[in-house]
Amino acid sequence: MTHIGIDLGTTNSLIAYWDGEKPQLIPNALGDVITPSAVSIDEDGQILIGKTAQERMISHPESSVAGFKRKMGTKSRIKLGKKEFTAEELSSLVLRQLKQDAEAFLGAPVTEAVISVPAYFNDAQRRATKVAGELAGLKVERLINEPTAAAVAYGVHDREQESHFLVVDLGGGTFDVSVLELFEGVMEVHASAGDNFLGGDDFTNEIASSFLRKHNLKAKQLDKASINQLKKLAQKAKHALSSNDEYNLKITLKGQDYELLLTRDSLEKILSELTGRLKAPIERAIRDSNIRPGELDDVLLVGGATRMPLIRSLIGRIFRRLPACTIDPDQVVALGAAVQAALKSRHKALKDIVMTDICPYTLGVEIAQQVSANQHQSGYFLPVIDRNTTIPVSKVQTLCTIANNQKVIDCSVYQGESRLVKNNIKLGNIEVKVPKNKAGEESVDIRFTYDINGILEVSVKVVSTGEVKRTIIKSEECSLSEKEIEESLKKLEKLKIHPRDQAENRLSLAKAERLFEESLGDKRDYVASLIAQFEATLNSQDLAKISSHKAEFDEEISALEEDVFA
């Protein structure tokens, strides 16, 4: 059996396997190791995934989606053409694509995988990721935290050293920081912190909206395609400014030309608020790990967004050192996940390595505290499992009644770092009946068990009767039920997935369609005629003819693309 690791990212996903000595990335049908986490549905109801879907974000904005990882663990419905999907379902489509790519590459069925999640993903988001795997026909043997995966990849890379390091993982949609220690074959996570709604996409969006502000434009006035096009250009500007000092962002909107000259300095200003948000999680992780910044042996950068010079210089100022990134920041998480898959099954090359992770949130229950003889203040948060406790872990707190003849104890489970539950996130609650008795005479033992995948089980035992009630916490608004999962599976089975062997042709077409959207006048007409010709060839089903036409077609399209703004 092959050990598979998957990085299911907000913008891009990757799949890797353990070749017996080291992790290797698996290319998709297009020969790329990176598959954009985008899904599109075409006129025939066929599902397109990856690069092709990404191209279609501009040409077919109504039937294409990306960035759905941010909706994981919520019940919000995402429209794709005429159909609606949950984030789990869309993610499962991406996973299924990756699975097929791996099967094609390895020539063997892939049924199990380790999938990475942001360290700061909460319970519901983790469950949703597991469900997505199941929907894609993958048994998710382990969820691994992304920074941990990155560290594992680095750790295995040069395993001789004993060291402390900090991983800064700024992906497309999420931000994670972890402090780890590597010693004697033990990879120990000391602390994790993060922001589930901060990533490279936010930086792109901020550039786009600042462009609109500069020109007194409102996003509402623009159609979806224009907005997607502007975002694409904003991203291009962001990338260009990583190597150049300035970039001129030009776009035609509603028949009018707009442009904005961006420099590194102006970019820094535009993004200052977002970069500011990077600081708090870093500070917290350092605070929790109780390691002085000077004791860190390395600061590792992970995630495509850390390529921005702006981010690097911020990290440099915070830690007074140059961050390291000897492994491609886009690939390191997937590689680490594959290592973890091998670790999990105790592959002989990794027999001496054990990894321990932590729970990134404080988990606890709501309590009332006595303030005077007959007055209680409720709304306080009593931590049961403190954040950054090594997992798996199981903890008990004993609570008692506060009123005479109290019949019920309501254990509301929360996650968060505030002393007051109202500022924390409610995960669910369990009510248990207790025998009538004087205040304080009846008590319950609340046990929180946090497993190695980061999933919480709560059990409540009434001390006097020995009655036990246990539950896997499910909040009302998230997590699919068994039945819902089955329905999802049926729904997904009905979907026609675009055949893998035509992926390249489909991508060429999607690129051309996007170019059509972006062009005007004669050029647009010309692109349209090129598309029509190529489609005719595709319909002929003559493989030799298709292949030669494709080469020609690609060449022509990319030539046109070069002078799109000419």
Binding site: E184, V186, H190, R284, E295, Q369, P392
Partner: protein
């Protein structure tokens, strides 16, 4: 099993050994296969790492010797490294309270302490804090030269002080304090990017605001600082995002104060009156009854019950610092890190961690810190709690301090019974200062018979301890805590006088001859001591002659007193050249002459002394005894800053 047994190693301060042991066992106790055993292993590993900071292998032996020798009057400290260390380890594993609070309110420290903080900063092996020029530079500059590091570290410290001053300036200036732009500007300082500086400021600025939002700070109240300003500051430092870390250092009410001020009532918990619920909650409305769980203050539950409950993980899970920054608590430098005004947060946290895992020494130090040092009463309870746990683990020092504290507490928990309880415990453990502490406590606050006192102090009497004689003499004289008994008192005075050298006699005689105590009137008590100054030959020491004159005056023989006093003046002038400066000499002569004039007028020279003064003497005795213990624990230098004043 304690953590060392779990790890299958001997207690050690070598963290490498601990890690090696952990790593070895981890491969057998894999987190995937056996989560329960893994949890025990992982918790033991962390306990061992935090205890390692308190293990001082070299000093274990010398410490044991020291304990046996411990002499009564020698307050000079020699070596107490690792005291109570054994208990710390063996108890540590079973016991760990969930929560402790450390107050980081600071008192005014001296320059020494400042220097020491600078030193600690310099110790940290950071690389590349750049010179001032680079503050404003957004490019990454990395330097690693060590001599540069020294300046750089100083500049973090300077920056912190500078920044606090800037904040203070803003807050103090009426026109500026509510100008959001000025605050924004302040926070734009690039030096705040440095994580170390910002982390220290995060707590110190919180502390500052918790003070100025206190009604006592009138300077800032007209117009008051606006909530949105406080909110801005809170957002900048992420107070609210991570309130739990604030609860490690501040009391609930302090946090409530600041947060409620900044975010309005929405930030405060809701109060519910149980009685009201009861009326509406009867019948089928059990819904009203839900929630309703309450926890005794967790500290107390940990202190007073369930020693058998399974071990809970310490509230603080922090990875250990390297030895360099914090090696062992027994080191006075480290006490300083914890006890000084600029106490180092990480050191305090280390200490708390050890305390929560039951280390007695850590508990003692935190108890002292909270009780005496930094802040008067708001950390008081934490101090008591720490010491109570230490005392319950058999720390005699903690017992004595608790006994002292329950007598003199400024807050409401003054409790003589508790004081007696703890002092009796110390007594039963045979602590050398316990009898005197207990005797003073009972005499000052309660009653006992003379026999009982003598019984209690029998060992001291046998050893001719002057403090015990003094105690007995005064108690008998004024009837403090016992019946008044002048002859008995005079007997003890004589014992006191003869327990020392002639100087001691002089002091007792002077006291008896010049005190305006009505009980002594006509007793001629001082007369007994005249011979000490005359036999075998009359003394020439002016001070003794001065005393002799006072003795004659007390017995009514003013002529003799006058002549003797003139003698005293002559002796004084003769002896003067050696050890008195002119000004001091003149003053002394004036003083002597004033007495001679009194004798001429047939009046005694009297000094005020009453029962209150005697009681104060007892208090001072207790104070000295307690202080002696504290000095032993933390060193003279660190004890100096402690606000131990009983008044």
């Amino acid at each position: 099993m304690n953590c060392w047994q779990v790890l299958q190693i001997e207690p050690t301060n070598n963290k490498k050994d601990i890690k090696r042991a952990y790593s070895k066992l981890l491969k057998v106790t894999h987190p995937e296969d056996d989560p329960e055993s893994f949890q025990i292993l992982s918790e033991s590993y962390k306990s061992a790492l935090s205890m390692a900071e308190f293990v001082d292998e070299d000093s274990i032996e010398s410490e044991m010797v020291e304990d046996e020798v411990g002499s009564a009057n020698n307050s000079e400290f020699t070596n107490i490294d690792g005291s109570n260390f054994d208990e710390g380890i063996s108890d540590g594993f079973e016991w760990s309270p969930q929560e402790y609070e450390v107050d980081s309110q600071t008192n005014k420290g001296n320059t020494n302490e400042k220097e020491s903080v600078q030193n600690t900063f310099m110790q940290s092996d950071s690389e590349g804090w750049t010179e001032d020029g680079s503050w404003s530079n957004s490019e990454i500059i990395v330097q690693s030269s060590e001599d540069v590091a020294e300046n750089q570290e100083t500049s973090i410290y300077e920056f912190i002080e500078y920044f606090l001053e800037e904040i203070d300036k803003l807050c103090r200036t009426k026109k500026k304090r509510n100008n959001l732009d000025l605050w924004r500007e302040l926070f734009e300082d690039e030096r705040l990017d440095d994580i170390e500086a910002k982390e220290i400021l995060r707590f110190r600025v919180f502390h500052y605001f918790s003070n100025i939002l206190d009604s006592e700070f009138k300077n800032y109240s007209n117009p008051p600082i606006k909530p949105n300003i406080v909110k801005r500051v809170s957002e900048f430092f992420g107070w609210r995002e991570d309130e739990i870390s604030l609860t490690y250092h501040y009391q609930t009410h302090q946090i409530d104060n600041v947060m409620t001020y900044a975010y309005g009532l929405a930030a405060s918990p809701k109060t519910e009156v149980i009685e009201e619920r009861k009326s509406s909650g009867s019948g089928g409305y059990w819904l009203f009854w839900i929630i309703a769980v309450f926890v005794l203050p967790k500290v107390f539950s940990a202190l007073f019950k369930d020693t058998e409950r399974p071990k809970e993980e310490p509230y603080y899970k922090r990875a250990p610092l390297k030895e360099k920054s914090f090696s062992s608590l027994s080191n006075f430098e480290n006490c300083q890190l914890i006890l000084s005004e600029y106490h180092e947060l990480s050191a305090v946290l280390r200490c708390i961690q050890s305390a929560t895992s039951g280390n007695v020494k850590a508990l003692e130090i935190l108890g002292i810190k909270n009780l005496f040092s930094i802040a008067s009463d708001n950390s008081h309870q934490a101090g008591i709690d720490y010491l109570t746990s230490a005392a319950e683990k058999g720390s005699v020092v903690a017992e004595l301090i608790l006994g002292f504290e329950y007598q003199y507490s400024l807050s409401t928990d003054k409790d003589i019974e508790k004081a007696k309880y703890w002092l009796s415990k110390a007594l039963s453990q045979g602590h050398k200062n316990a009898p005197m502490m207990l005797a003073s406590a009972i005499l000052l606050n309660d009653k006992m018979t003379a026999d009982e006192v003598e019984q209690l102090l029998s060992k001291e009497i046998e050893e001719r301890d002057q403090r015990a004689f003094n105690l007995l003499a005064m108690a008998n004289l004024f009837g403090i805590g016992m019946n008044e008994n002048l002859p008995e008192s005079l007997k003890w005075f004589e014992e006191l006088a003869t327990a020392g050298d002639i100087e001691q006699v002089n002091e007792v005689a002077w006291f008896l001859a010049t005190s305006d105590i009505p009980q002594l009137n006509g007793s001629n008590a001082a007369m007994n001591y005249a011979d000490y100054f005359l036999i075998p030959e009359p003394t020439t020491n002016p001070r003794y002659v001065d005393t002799l004159a006072a003795i004659y005056a007390a017995s009514g023989d003013f002529a003799k007193a006058y002549v003797t006093q003139l003698n005293a003046i002559i002796h004084l002038k003769q002896s003067a050249s050696e050890d008195l400066t002119n000004a001091a000499l003149d003053e002394e002569i004036t003083d002597y002459e004033s007495r001679s004039k009194l004798y001429l007028k047939q009046e005694r020279y009297l000094q005020k002394f009453n029962e209150g003064d005697a009681r104060k003497m007892f208090e001072r005795l207790q104070y000295a005894l307690v202080r002696e213990e504290i000095v032993k624990l933390v060193g003279e230098k660190n004890a100096k800053g402690l606000n131990l004043n009983i008044n």
